[in-house]
Symmetry: C2
Subunit: 124 residues, 2 copies
């Protein structure tokens, strides 16, 4: 981790969560971590599912409320959700019959900050 | 475009650039547009290339300066760059022998804003 990371102190990157696309040349591991999250978002259905969960009160939604708006079966929705969970963008909690998904605000904040061109000057 | 878009006035979305993942349930077209950009970023090499260009003075870099840091041939780098250009994240300009790539700050800003969880309250 020798990257210049103006947004987030280097010490904070030891945990492996944080780096900026626009804050200097990324270390390979940071780029891999970011790319994995972006890849999970590289599908319109998953982008919509994330937006639906984010729009719910508390940033949490039951899988039972996600199927109808996207017009897909529950197994298909669960498959998409697994990719968002695996990427660390969303958490999953089973409560009785249903799975509940919640966004991980700090990860979204990190991903948002990584794309912010306002860090350009700092990185240049 | 019937989506609630707290970050960006609805009028601005007519041009097709702007929607927020965290600002309410996304329209299908908005989700497709965002997913296309995220997909282009869903590769570690492309994330690194974008960070390298962003880190240059003026947010612009010659392809001749990108090959060595990523350790790939120029055709391979050009192939990756084409995907970033096609997604609208980067522009390409031929100057004599070399292609120059520049980030599109307003697109990165839009993408960054689309992931910002601070719009959660507005979207809920």
């Amino acid at each position: 981790m020798t990257t210049s990371l103006p947004l987030i102190p280097a010490a904070d990157t030891a945990g492996g969560c944080c780096a900026s696309v626009t804050g200097g040349v990324l270390a390979v591991e940071d780029a891999q971590r970011l790319a994995r999250m972006f890849k999970a978002l590289g599908d319109p259905t998953r982008v919509r599912l994330l937006s639906m969960i984010a729009a719910q009160s508390g940033g949490e939604a039951c899988v039972c409320d996600l199927t109808e708006p996207v017009g897909l079966s529950q197994p298909t929705v669960s498959h998409h959700m697994k990719q968002l969970v695996d990427a660390g963008l969303v958490t999953r909690e089973q409560r009785g019959k249903w799975a509940y998904y919640a966004i991980v605000p700090e990860v979204l904040t990190m991903l948002s900050a990584a794309l912010d061109p306002e860090t350009l000057q700092a990185g240049a």
